[in-house]
Amino acid sequence: MIAALRHKRFAAIGLLALSGLLLWLMAHLVTARPGILFWIGVLVLWALVWIGNDALSGIRTSSPLTTRLRNLAVPAIFGLTLLLLWQLAVKGFGIPLVLLPAPSDIWSKLITSLPTLAADFVQTFLRAVLPGWALGSLAGFLVAVLCDAWGFLRRGLLPLGNLFAALPIVGVAPIMVMWFGFDWHSKVAVVVVMTFFPMLVNTVAGLQAAGHLERDLMRSYGASWFDTLVKLRLPAAMPFIFNALKINSTLALIGAIVAEFFGTPIVGMGFRISTEVGRLGLDMVWAEIAVAAIAGSAFYGIIALIERVVTFWHPSYRSRKDP
């Protein structure tokens, strides 16, 4: 029985390794316009990888470590297969670079342009996205707390905030460039405008999230507004606040890149994308997109990790084990 299971496991992994390797070889060797047999081979190998990955995801694991490894491997294999198919399609059908560069083209562009990409990353991500995200989120949070302390502020500000949120970034960005100049300051301003409102709305909602009994308890202690805020309502609002932080991480990246389309010094991810599109350097555009995707995912992932630590008590994370 155990032996049979073992066999199944090895069979799945062996199938994956073999078909994956073959697919990789084909992607490596492919030249323009291969014959029909080549494409049939690709389809068969793809099917085999698919079956192998499905078997892998169904394998019963014996330890937490193998479970984790398995849970990482399945989506990784899926993603790699997509990249290989992309490579095969672009090279096999001879698709021109301006339409869609192959992953190998993007990769070689990426490693030969590292200094440029790094400078763009610093300009856009470190100087605009991060500070703008932090400032906008902090401002939204503080205004939400003020709204909570003074009801008239909430009634006055929330509709105004709605207006804010509806402002199109393509309208805001040029105005901010006029106000704050071409450099990163105007990009920070755009990001602040974009991230302020999601945090405001989420925090206002979060501050209402504590249950009735939990509030009555505070009231029965004759607790002050501040004590109630710090000991009950803010902790209860944390899932909402982290939700806003995650939404804002995505918005900030989009905002900073798009804002650079409207005037910038000659550095930055948005600047690079817009100029390289003009020069038909699509491999560079895709390299920037790859950097943006990796940075954005990492940013989001880190916030999500902190969220797990801070809201460990929330039903979606907690376990009966000790945290």
Binding site: L213, R219, K231, P323
Partner: protein, 261 residues
């Protein structure tokens, strides 16, 4: 010697205005609770037991009539932290450990760290939850959570305890045990307890006065004095005197129902 009155309600009424019209949760309630009393409210669901307790606690305001707590308005009494309230659900804060849940009122009321530690230990002992200090509420059973909420209410040592069906969700065995412990605590500390239940044996065993209530409109239909010794044990539930009182409570509850149909 007449003990000072802790709660005094005169012609107290409370009407909730709802979308489906008014709900008469309390109607012309007269009640006096003396210092050191153990008073139970008993009656079917919706007869206003919780509402009456919440009016005493200033969590709800009466529409008509007058009420004082310790000779003050309920609001003044609440601000002076006159009472500890045990809700129908534990209402523990899930981000706090058990000991920090018990510490919550102590932090708010400005007790020092050593005093806090001592009171946490003493009250967790009282509800038999030593060793669970570092656990989180969701790691405990419902009965244990409710005991934590009792320890939390006792932590700042209020003279008056308001308890809303604290043992309602517990099984019979745990309930018996906690009843016995609560009675001993009451006899020892001379606290005043106002206790909501819909269990007749629980009410008769614990109380020196039983307030029988009836719904629509919520009102008091009988007040029964009992005279059991303070150091009684669960065994008295088999005695003729006990059964006589229980019978009178049951009669009261039945009479209350006959108003409707």
């Amino acid at each position: 010697m007449a003990a000072a009155s802790v709660i005094e309600a005169r012609e107290l009424s409370l009407t909730f205005e709802t979308a489906d019209g008014p709900v008469y949760a309390l109607s012309k309630v007269n009640l006096t609770v003396h210092d050191g009393d153990f008073v139970s409210f008993i009656g079917p669901s919706g007869c206003g037991k919780t509402t009456l307790l919440r009016v005493i606690a200033d969590l709800e305001q009466a529409s008509e009539g007058a009420i004082t707590v310790n000779g003050m308005t309920p609001e003044e009494a609440r601000r002076q932290r006159a009472y500890g309230y045990v809700f129908q659900a534990p209402a523990l804060y899930p981000w706090r450990t058990i000991e920090r849940n018990v510490a919550l009122p102590l932090e708010i009321m400005g007790f020092g760290a050593t005093e806090r530690a001592e009171r946490i230990a003493r009250n967790l002992d009282l509800v038999n939850l030593r060793g669970f200090e570092k656990k989180f509420p969701w790691q405990l059973s419902g009965g244990m959570q409710q005991r934590v909420s009792i320890a939390r209410a006792l932590a700042f040592d209020p003279k008056l305890m308001l308890m809303d069906e604290p043992f309602g969700a517990l099984d019979e065995i745990v309930r018996d045990k906690l009843n016995q412990q609560l009675l001993e605590l009451w006899a020892r500390t001379r606290k005043t307890v106002v206790f909501v239940t819909h269990s007749i044996p629980e009410a008769v065993f614990l109380s020196n006065r039983i307030v029988v209530m009836s719904p629509r409109p919520g009102r008091i239909i009988d007040v029964i004095e009992t005279n059991f010794p303070k150091d009684r044990t669960l065994d008295i539930r088999e005695t003729p005197e006990f059964l006589k009182v229980a019978h009178r409570v049951r009669e009261g509850l039945r009479q209350g129902h006959s108003y409707e149909d």
